[in-house]
Point group: C2
Chain length 304, copies 2
C-alpha cells in the first residue's frame, strides 16, 4: 500500500569521534523514506527545501523509488541546516548550529496523487504542521504514525496533546516518553500515552532496543550489539522508516506484524549507524537486509 | 547435578523510596542458593556467619533444600552487615554502613560431602578467597561461574586476573565489564574478557536485559518491563542463581541451554525486585515461575 512521509529534508554537518562531514543530505523525512524504500515502492514524500538543494540529491531519492512530487523547492530560500557534534560516548551530542530557513514557514502541500495514501508517517517537526497534514488529507489514512521530540513537548505541548488524539502510533525515545508523561517507569509512561490518544506506543531505547505496547501486550526488540557506532544520526528515523515501510508493504497492522515491523526497523537502524549520515542506507541490498534480520533472529531466539 | 555456591550470607538493612527494613537476611550466596533451589535439589552452600545469625534463617534455607553443612558459624563473632539506601530512580544506591565482621577472615571450608560438586558458583567476594575454593576442590567442577564487582577490579586486580584464567563463565554488569576492560563497547569488552580466561561472558544490563557471549555467538535476553521496582537488592545474584540452577538441573552446558538458563535467571530476577530483600524468592511456586517464563517468551518471540 502507499506510504506518505512528511518531515524535514535538510543539510547536516556532522562530527563524531571518527571524523567530520561537510554538508550532506539529512532530515527526518530523508531517513524515513530511504529506509522505507527497501520495503514499499509506493513511497511519497512531502517536504520543503530551498533552491540550494542539489538536483543530484533529489535524483538519489528518485532512484530509490521515492516520489518527490510533494517536495516543494522554495526559490530564493535556503534548505534547513543542522550541524551537530557527538561526544566520545556517542550517546550525547551538542547542536553546533541550526538554520531553520525554509522550515520556518513549512506549509505542507499534499499533491492530489497522494490523497489516497493508506499509511502516513509524520516525521519530527512542529505538531501544528503535523496536524495540518492530517487535516489536508481527504480520507483518513489506515494508520497514522507520529514522531516528535523534547523541543515540542516543551514549547508546543498543547498542540502536541491535540495531535496525539488523532494518531494511531507514537514513536518516541525513552527520555521523551518520560518527559511527556512525567513517569519514570516506561510501562507506566506507555499506559499514560495510550490515554492521550495513540493506541500503540513504541519506545526506542537506542542501544538498549525498543519496546512496543498495544492494549495489554508488550514486545521487546533488542538492538544489535555493535562493536562500533560510527554515526548515530538518523538511526531513530531509519527505524521508523523500516517499521512503517514493512507495514505499508504487507498492509497488515496486527500486533504480530508490528512485531516484525519493529525487527525490520531495528535492522535498518543498525545499518544506519555504520557510516556517516544516510550513506549506508542509500546503498543496501535486499540480501544484506535479509542477512541482518537473520542476525536478530539468532540474537533473541530461544527454545524452552 | 550438584551445585556448590560460595559467597556471603549476611544481614542487610535496606531503604528504598517504598520503605525501609530492619536487619533482614541478605548476601550474594543467600540470593544465589535460594534462586537455584527452584531448579536443583542438590544445592550446597559454603559461607560464614557469626553467632548472632538466627537458627530460624538457617531453617528457612534448609526448607528450600539448601545444604548448610558448609555454613560455618563463628562463635563470638558477628555476621557481615550491609546497609544501603536507594535513590529515587532505584538505579543508584549509597552504602550507608558496612561491617565486614566474619567476612574479614573468611576462609572457606569445603565439607567432604561437597567435593564432587559439578557446578561451582563463586558469588561476589574477594578474588583470593574465590580462588581458594577452586584450589580446595579435589576435582575441578564441570563449570565454574564467577561473579565479581567494581571494588575487586580496583583493589585486587592482579588476584582477579589470576582467577579469571581458572573460570569458565564471568557474570558482570555493564559498568564492571567496561571497568575491567577499559572498552566502552560491550561487544569489545566481552571479546577482551574472553582473552582473560572465561570462554563465556554474561553482561547484565539491569532493566535493559542481559547479553551472553560465547565464541562468535551472542544472545540477548530482555528484562521484563516492570511498572514498579520495589527493591533491586539481590537481583543480580538471583539472576546468577537461576542461571546456574538451570544448568545444574539439566547438566547441559551447550550454548542453547545457556540461553534458556539466562531466561530462567531473568525470570527469577524479575520476582526478586517485587518485594524487599529475599522475601519474594523465598516464597515462589513452580507455577509462578513457569508463568513468568512464558511472559518472557511472549515478550521476545516474533515470526518472520
Amino acid at each position: 500500500m502507499s506510504l506518505l512521509t512528511v518531515g524535514s529534508v535538510a543539510f547536516d554537518a556532522l562530527e563524531t569521534p571518527f571524523g567530520k562531514t561537510d554538508k550532506i543530505i539529512g532530515g527526518a523525512a530523508t531517513y524515513i523514506t530511504l529506509s522505507a524504500s527497501y520495503f514499499t515502492k509506493d513511497n511519497n514524500l512531502v517536504a520543503v527545501v530551498g533552491d540550494d538543494f542539489p538536483q543530484s540529491m533529489i535524483n538519489d531519492l528518485n532512484q530509490h523509488g521515492i516520489n518527490t512530487e510533494g517536495l516543494e523547492i522554495r526559490q530564493g530560500e535556503k534548505t534547513f541546516f543542522w550541524s551537530g557534534k557527538y561526544h566520545d560516548d556517542m550517546n550525547t551530542r551538542d547542536t553546533v548550529e541550526v538554520q531553520l530557513n525554509v522550515m520556518e514557514h513549512f506549509d505542507p502541500i499534499i499533491p492530489d496523487a497522494y490523497q489516497d495514501c493508506q499509511y502516513l508517517m509524520l516525521g519530527n517537526t512542529a505538531p501544528a504542521i503535523q496536524q495540518k497534514v492530517i487535516e489536508r488529507l481527504t480520507n483518513r489514512p489506515k494508520l497514522i504514525v507520529l514522531d516528535t521530540m523534547n523541543l515540542w513537548i516543551d514549547i508546543a505541548n498543547a498542540d502536541l496533546m491535540n495531535l496525539l488524539k488523532l494518531v494511531d502510533v507514537l514513536v518516541v525515545n525513552d527520555e521523551e516518553a518520560r518527559q511527556l508523561t512525567r513517569q519514570p517507569s516506561l510501562v507506566k509512561a506507555a499506559a499514560k500515552i495510550k490515554e492521550m490518544g495513540p493506541q500503540t506506543v513504541i519506545i526506542k531505547k537506542g542501544e538498549h532496543g525498543a519496546l512496543l505496547f498495544q492494549n495489554d501486550q508488550v514486545f521487546f526488540a533488542p538492538a544489535l550489539p555493535l562493536a562500533e557506532v560510527f554515526d548515530p544520526t538518523g538511526a531513530g528515523d531509519t527505524f521508523a522508516g523500516g517499521f512503517i515501510g514493512h507495514l505499508a508493504k504487507t498492509d497488515d497492522i496486527s500486533f504480530d506484524n508490528m512485531k516484525r515491523a519493529i525487527i525490520y526497523g531495528s535492522a535498518m537502524a543498525s545499518f544506519c549507524v555504520e557510516k556517516f549520515g544516510a550513506e549506508r542506507i542509500m546503498n543496501l541490498t535486499d540480501e544484506e537486509i535479509k542477512s541482518r534480520v537473520d542476525e536478530f533472529v539468532k540474537l533473541s531466539a530461544f527454545g524452552l
